[in-house]
């Protein structure tokens, strides 16, 4: 292929492709927001984007820096109070997919955004749970996107802020009214899915130019690979154009006061 792209762009495009037209997506800030808006601007014009700030069905022209930027309200179908957002729209079962980032993730796709170290004597204090704990259980399914590194992909998270499949992979078993949980994790190296039985995250697709060793080296546990390992399709020129324009627009806007 003659198209050049970065591993970040590969990640964002792959994450965007996970969203389908007509899905209602509860969007986390940062990488998920970038991917969700790329999806909306490319193959999924009718994907419904919902931000926890209460903005329903929003179509921002630039990426929001915060979860409640003015752009989100101005381009929304309507904006509701935050309690309503969490009660009627998320807990009420109207969200097909929650799209999350995280600081740490473990082999059972549990997410830690609370802290590194011990809770009462933290090495690093992280921002906390935010919307994630209930997005992860009340949305129909969950997509996760983050950069691959040994610091982020750990065998056991220091703290389960947000349920993937629990510390033993059985955290959702027998729980009533709970979503399917994480169905895919998209990184800058690969795509992972939970094993249908054990729920352990398994690499199902490697991005072009990425080797098994690259993934093994960037993962903090003995990562497994699917029997039939796929190669992630490359970004198209159109996807890259739209993504780059989106990011350039965003940068220009956020640089101003």
């Amino acid at each position: 292929m003659s198209i050049e792209y970065t591993s970040s762009e590969m990640m964002t495009v792959t994450a965007a492709r996970a969203l389908e037209n007509g899905m209602t997506c509860f969007v986390g800030i940062g990488l998920p927001s970038e991917a969700a808006n790329l999806a909306r601007l490319t193959h999924a014009p009718d994907v419904v984007l919902i931000y926890e700030s209460g903005t329903l069905q929003t179509k921002p022209d630039v990426l929001p820096l915060s979860i409640g930027d003015g752009e989100l309200a101005e381009s929304a179908l309507t904006t509701v109070a935050v309690p309503e957002m969490f009660r009627y729209w998320l807990q009420g079962g109207k969200i097909s997919v929650g799209f999350l980032g995280t600081a740490q993730i473990d082999r059972y796709a549990n997410l830690n955004t609370t802290l590194i170290g011990d809770y009462h004597d933290p090495k690093v204090r992280l921002p906390g749970g935010g919307g994630a704990p209930e997005i992860a259980t009340n949305a129909g399914e969950v997509f996760i996107t983050l950069k691959h590194s040994k610091r982020a992909f750990v065998k056991d998270v220091d703290f389960v802020t947000t349920l993937g499949f629990g510390r033993d992979g059985k955290g959702r078993d027998g729980v009533p009214n709970i979503g399917k949980g994480p169905t895919r994790v998209i990184t800058d190296l690969c795509v992972m899915k939970p094993d249908p039985e054990t729920k352990e995250l398994t690499v199902v697709s490697l991005h072009p130019g990425v080797s098994r060793e690259d993934v093994i080296e960037a993962t903090g546990w003995e990562i497994r690979f699917a029997g039939e390992l796929e190669s992630t399709p490359e970004p198209s020129a159109k996807e890259l154009d739209i993504l780059r324009e989106l990011k350039a627009r965003t940068e220009r806007q956020h640089a101003g006061e």
Binding site: G30, E52, I67, G68, G70, P83, F86, P127, E134, L163
Partner: protein, 276 residues
């Protein structure tokens, strides 16, 4: 019944040392001017409640106003950590603070329950999360109809809530528009409330953009109204001015360093009279 006061007088009268205070505004309409007034008046030992403590609480914590923070997401949105919050939690500077953390869903429901006069909020939440291990205010109840296990958290009932809004009219009725967050809930849940506004208009219902289902908080449900033009900056006010994203990014460097922070507070808050 809303009384029109200066911001100084409103804070002096209603924010007591040791009080539980909620300053709300979900990214939008954050009451920065009021927060700065609290810092200037050197209020101490506050329990600060807020779903998303951002720069305003970083400043209050760094200035030594807080003894406890109740929150669900504490960061500089899109930028990174709150360094003053981290310094207080990790190193105890300028004093050790206690934190009690929830999820957004639980905090939102707790504000809703506070507004609704209930002692608790019930939600389908915290399933599989370890937050209940470190927050003894999260309990679980059984639905008497289905047997389902549901989370329960205490309602938020602050001593005083402070919010910023677009406008008030002469009767003290306040309009909140755009991302309305939990501001109305914060005001209704609190024993006392202060609302800062961009401007005062004659009669809300006679405004050209009046809408029958607008988010209007009646004057009789508010204690004090203070005009604070641009009172949400560097946050924004829908219809008035945009967010100063650049300042949010600059804050990262200021807040990383104790001295830089202290100098910033001196210059921009302590010595800024009522204008910060």
């Amino acid at each position: 019944m809303a009384e029109f006061l200066s911001l100084h007088d409103a804070v002096a009268r209603y924010v007591e040392d040791g009080a539980t205070v909620a300053m709300e505004g979900f990214t939008h309409l954050i009451p920065f001017a009021a927060g700065h007034e609290v810092i200037r008046q050197k209020k101490r030992d506050l329990t600060l409640i807020r779903m998303t403590p951002d720069l305003i609480y970083d400043q209050l914590i760094g200035a030594g106003c807080a003894k406890k923070v109740i929150f669900s997401w504490g960061g500089n949105p899109g930028v990174g950590s709150l360094h003053r919050l981290r310094d207080a939690v990790e190193k105890g500077w300028p004093r050790r603070i206690e934190i009690l953390e929830h999820s957004h869903a639980a905090m939102a429901c707790a504000f809703e329950a506070g507004a609704a006069g209930l002692p608790l909020a019930v939600l389908r939440g915290y399933v599989g999360s370890e937050l209940p291990n470190v927050n003894d205010q999260i309990k679980f109840i059984e639905c008497p109809f289905t047997g389902e296990r549901l989370a329960a958290v205490p309602a938020v009932r602050p001593d005083v809530s402070i919010v910023h809004a677009q406008k008030a009219d002469r009767k003290g009725n306040v309009l909140v528009e755009g991302i309305v967050g939990v501001q109305k809930e914060a005001v209704l849940a609190a024993a006392r409330s202060i609302v800062t506004v961009e401007e005062i208009v004659e009669d809300m219902t006679a405004e050209p953009d009046y809408h029958p289902n607008a988010c209007i908080i009646p004057g009789w449900a508010i204690d004090a109204i203070a005009v604070a033009e641009k009172g949400a900056l560097p946050s924004y006010a829908h219809g008035y001015y945009p967010r100063n994203n650049r300042f949010y990014k600059e804050w990262d460097a200021i807040a990383r360093d104790r001295d830089a922070f202290t100098a910033w507070i001196e210059e921009n808050v302590m010595n800024a009279g009522g204008n910060a």
